[in-house]
Structure formats: C-alpha cells, structure tokens
C-alpha cells in the first residue's frame, strides 16, 4: 500500500512520454491527455479513500528510513489537495480538447501540462523540504515553457517577468534551505517539527523562516510580490491560464501552510503579524486592482491575488477553525477559479477578443454558459448554497473567535469588492448586446460540447462542495487538527523511535 503514493507521479509522467511522440497530431494528443487526467483522478480518489479512515501513508523511497532518506507522505491534507488538483486537470484537458485545433503546439502543450501535473502531485506528496524544491522546479520549468508559447510582444514580456521572478523565489527557497540545514541537520518535515529547541531560537533559523516565507509568498502571489501574475497569466491560451490560476499559486499556499504549521509553528511569533498584514494588504490591493481592469482574464488574475490573501489570512489567524477554513477555501478556490478562466476562454472564442468592452451578448446567445458563469461567480463572491459561501463563512467565524476585528471588516469589504468585479464581468460580457466586427467569430462546432463538459463538471463539483460542505468541513477540521498537533504525522513518518 505505501507504493500507491508513486502512482500520482507515474501516471502523468508516462502520459507525458506518450504525448511527446504524438507531435503533430493535436486531436489525438488532446484525447490521450484527457484519458491520463481521468486516470489521475481515479488514482487520487483511491488514495483519498485509503487516507479518509485516519491512516497516513508513508513511502520511504529506496528503502532509506526516515530522516536519512526522502519520504513521500500521504496524509489527509496532501490527498485532498491531490484530488482537487486532479479534478482541475480533467476539466482543463476537456476544455483543451475544444481549444486544441486553434492553438499552436497541441501535443507538446499537452505533454508539458502532464509534466506540470506530475510536479504538482509531487509537491503535494513529498515529506522533505529539498524534495519540495525539486518538485517546485519541475512544475515551474514546465509552466515556463507553456507560458512562452505566445507570439505577441507583450506575451514575451509577461513570460520573462514570470520566469525571472519565480526563479528568484526558487533561489530564495534554496538559500533558506541551506541555512536551515546548517542549523538543524535535517530537511525532513517530521524531523524538523521535532526540533523546536533550535528553530525560531537562533538567528540563521529565523532568517531561514523569513526567506522561506518570501519564497512561498512570491510563488503564491501575495502582495507586494504578486505583480508577475497579472503580467503573464492572461497571455497564455485559456486552458493553460485556467490550469495556472487553479493550481500553481495554490501549491505555494500549500507549502506556506505546511512549513508554518509543521516546521515553524506560527503561534505568537512576530512572523504571524507579518503574514496577517500581508494577507490583508493582498486582499485589498488585489480587489482594487481587479476593479480597474477591462480585460476578462486580467480581472481574474488580480482576483487570484485577493483570494490568496483570504487563504493566508486563515493561516495567520492560526486557530484550528481558521486553518480548517483556509484549507476549505483553497479547495473551493481551485475549482471556482479554474472555472472562471475556462469561461473567459469561451467568451474569447465566441466574441473574438478578451477585452470586456468588445465582448457582449453571451446571455442572449449561450444561455447554458451564462448559467454556469453565474454558478462560479456566485461561488467566488460567496452566495449560498455554493462552496464559496461556506468557505467565507468559516473564515469569518474563526476571525470572530480569535477576536480579529480588523481582519473581519476587511474580509467583508473585500467580499463586496469581489461581487463588484463579478457584476462588472456579467454586465459587460454577458448582459450588454454584442457589436460584432466580423461575423465569422461566432463559436460552435462539433467539439464545442466537450469544452462545456469541462466547465459543467467544475460547476457541478462546486455545487456538490456547497451541498456536502459539512462532510468536507469535517475533513478540513481533521486536517487542521493534524497540522497543529503533528504527533500522528511524526509517528507515521519517523516510526516509534526518534533518531538524534
């Protein structure tokens, strides 16, 4: 059973290898990519089913026992994130099937996407900080290549900003790792969580905490390190933008939560205040910058910054309820945000441009898509009974519990700001009548239905998360308890005896 943990890494890798041979056959490649993603969902759900009963699956790679070798650890947090990521993967590849004949390098994009999924799965499953760095790099390099496939000047500029800033964050991560290893002598999460005598108490280890926070903050696009996101995401083709928006920044938030509950527990430290203020600033600035944009995908990109602020707010409040709310928010956001990007892609194809001023009339011409948009938009803005409502409610009630009144007020106001942006997109792209320049841009055709299948799948999952929120919240509470009291994690990874 421990060997199950390798499957979420093997499936996308083998898929990518097969897809590299499909160069030139875009449609076949897109179909194979879909099948690989469905297989990944099956693997992820088997893992989740095993872990749901309270077991933490640990695989010591190559037989080296835990703190000396690298371990893959599947606890409930990892498996939940893996499952959500695989659902995002299926929806995005279904949409790529619809989009594929129009993009430049079909088979290679699908292959690189599968490699990116391998990096994401590895980042969720690893139990070692340096291994996390390696999986981040796998994910990042695949996304670099995917993002630089554009042809316009601005897309190259965006790609460079993305590449340079993310490489800088990787180097900050490496620096923090070096200092941490020098202090503690181990990079295994479970082992690091035992060394509370050293961490926070020496200057190099506190410095390492700040460096790791900066590195993950750049990757998660927290203010003030978020400017690479809106410069680059809207230049990617729609299905890629959806994959990036739904997955990459959430992996950064996952790393933040893992590091600052297991390795550097945040309770009462000065870094907790820093993360709190950075989260509040991200929420406000993200939503204000989103309100000024007139490009569908750019509004969504700035929105991601604001939503990431919500998730790290849950981390910064650092109570059981707050971290549970943060995990719930991450899961809800992965689904809803990806859906919005895919809808932006549909709008671009149907109306011929991403500019909100030039779009229009989607409610009149495509009723079903408009209803799916309403599901996602209401989910992001926080209306019941969709998942976003419960995510926001849990976060706000945990803010009340710890008496963080400023955070409460900011979160409520930013919710109004989110609703404003969603209404603007609705009014511009869906409600107002369309003034078409060229008649040929009207969308349709045989593969159009598959694209809607991807969006409909995500909308269905969003509704299901809302209706089944008590079950999901129970899981998130268990995740939060396991993170804040890492005894079961440590025992699972390190065994009964503790070394050094």
């Amino acid at each position: 059973m421990p060997n199950l943990l390798v499957l979420p890494l093997l499936v996308p890798l083998l898929g990518a290898i097969i897809l590299f041979f499909m160069h030139g056959h875009s449609l076949v490649a897109a179909v194979i990519s879909c099948c690989v993603s469905v297989l990944q969902v099956i693997v992820a759900s088997i893992l989740l089913w095993h872990v749901w009963s309270g077991v933490t699956i640990v695989l010591d790679l190559a037989g080296w026992s835990a703190p000396f070798g690298i371990s893959l650890v599947g606890d409930l947090f990892s498996c939940l994130m893996l499952f959500a990521a695989s659902i995002v993967g299926v929806a995005v590849t279904l949409f790529a099937l619809f989009d594929a004949p129009r993009s430049e390098a079909g088979a290679l994009s699908c292959a690189l996407f599968q490699l990116m999924m391998m990096g994401v799965s590895g980042a969720f499953l690893t139990g070692d900080l340096f291994n996390l760095y390696v999986w981040f790099e796998v994910m990042l390099i695949s996304s670099f290549v995917l993002l630089s496939m554009g042809t316009s000047k601005a897309s190259f500029g965006g790609a460079f900003k993305y590449v340079l800033l993310n490489l800088f964050s990787s180097l900050l991560f490496l620096t923090g790792l070096g200092l941490l290893y020098g202090q503690v002598g181990s990079l295994n999460f479970a082992h690091l969580s035992l060394r509370t005598d050293v961490l926070w108490h020496t200057l190099p280890s506190s410095g390492s905490a700040v460096l790791l926070f900066c590195a993950f903050a750049i990757k998660s696009a927290l203010f003030p390190m978020h400017f690479w996101l809106p410069a680059s995401y809207h230049h990617a083709s729609s299905w890629l933008a959806a994959a990036f928006g739904g997955l990459l920044s959430k992996v950064g938030v996952y790393a933040l939560i893992r590091t600052f509950t297991l390795v550097y527990p945040l309770g009462g430290s000065w870094l907790q205040q820093v993360i709190l203020y950075v989260s509040l600033a991200s929420m406000i600035i993200g939503v204000l910058q989103a309100a000024a944009q007139m490009n569908f995908q750019r509004v969504l990109s700035f929105h991601i910054v604001s939503q990431i602020g919500y998730m790290t707010l849950g981390l910064a409040l650092y109570s059981t309820g707050a971290i549970a709310a943060a995990v719930f928010y991450i899961l809800h956001n992965m689904i809803a945000k990806t859906n919005m990007y895919l809808l932006g892609g549909v709008a671009k194809v149907v109306c011929g441009s991403s500019d909100l001023g030039k779009q229009g009339g989607l409610f009149a011409s495509h009723l079903f898509i408009s209803l799916l948009f309403l599901v996602s938009a209401f989910s992001l803005a926080g209306l019941p009974p969709l998942s976003g409502f419960f995510a926001k409610l849990l976060l706000l009630s945990s803010a009340i519990e710890v008496r963080a009144w400023g955070a409460l007020v900011v979160a409520l106001l930013v919710g109004v700001g989110t609703l404003f942006s969603m209404s603007k997109i609705w009014a511009e792209a869906f409600w107002k009548p369309l003034v078409l320049v060229d008649e040929e841009f009207r969308g349709g055709g045989a593969t159009f239905k598959f694209g809607i299948a991807g969006i409909a799948l995500l909308a269905f999952v969003s509704i299901a998360m809302g209706l089944g929120s008590s079950l999901l919240y129970e899981a998130c509470q268990r995740v939060s308890f396991e993170l804040l009291n890492p005894d079961s994690y440590q025992k699972a990874v390190l065994g009964q005896g503790v070394v050094r």
């Binding site: 390696v134 790099e137 190259f156 790609a159 460079f160 490489l167 800088f168 620096t175």
Partner: protein, 111 residues
C-alpha cells in the same frame, strides 16, 4: 571568511544584474544568484576546507568529516540551474529573432 565574503558579493552582483533592463544581464544575474546559493549551502552546512569526505586509505567514515549531504543538494541545484539557464537563453534568442534587441521595457502590454 573569504568564501563568505565571496557569497555576499555574488548575491549583491546577482541582484544588481537582475534589476537591469537588458535580458542578458538579468539572465547573468540569475546564474550568479544560483552560484551564490550553492556556495551558501556548502558554507552553512559542513564546510571543512581541504578535507575530503573519505580520506584515501580509509574504509570507514571518520568521526570528524565533512557532511556529504549538502554536496548532494548542491549538485541537484546546479543541474536545475543549468536547465533553467539554458531555457532562459533560448527564450532570449527567440525574443531577439522575433523582435530584435533584448530590452525588457519594450516588451510590455499596450495599455
């Protein structure tokens, strides 16, 4: 102590170059920062100048010997840096082919 000074100089030079307008200089900055981070791992964790991990003639690791793990970490980081640097150079080449020049300020959204 000299090597710590060298690491500091490399970090400073790397960050300075990263802030330049020319893309080639930014790539050089990333490469220098990579070198600096690798040297930092070496110095911070088990730096013993002149002492090999296994001395010639020994069959067993001695009591006082340098830690081999940071050297493995550095190797991985060097290889990743190599791949990334190669990609960056290819991207700059393609930019120069399509648009001429490598000025980052000229590649922006027309707002």
């Amino acid at each position: 102590m000299a090597i710590s000074g060298l690491i500091g100089v490399l970090y400073a030079a790397g960050i300075f170059l990263l802030l330049r307008r020319s893309l080639i200089k930014a790539t050089m900055g990333i490469l220098l920062l990579g070198h600096a981070a690798n040297l930092l791992i070496l110095v911070a964790a088990g730096y013993m100048p002149g002492v090999p991990v296994i001395r010639p003639g020994d069959s067993v690791l001695q009591e006082i010997s340098p830690d081999p793990l940071p050297q493995a970490l550095i190797l991985t980081a060097i290889v990743i840096g190599l791949g990334v640097g190669a990609f960056l150079i290819a991207l700059i080449y393609r930019t120069a082919l399509c648009f001429g020049g490598d000025d980052l300020d000229s590649l922006r959204d027309e707002e």
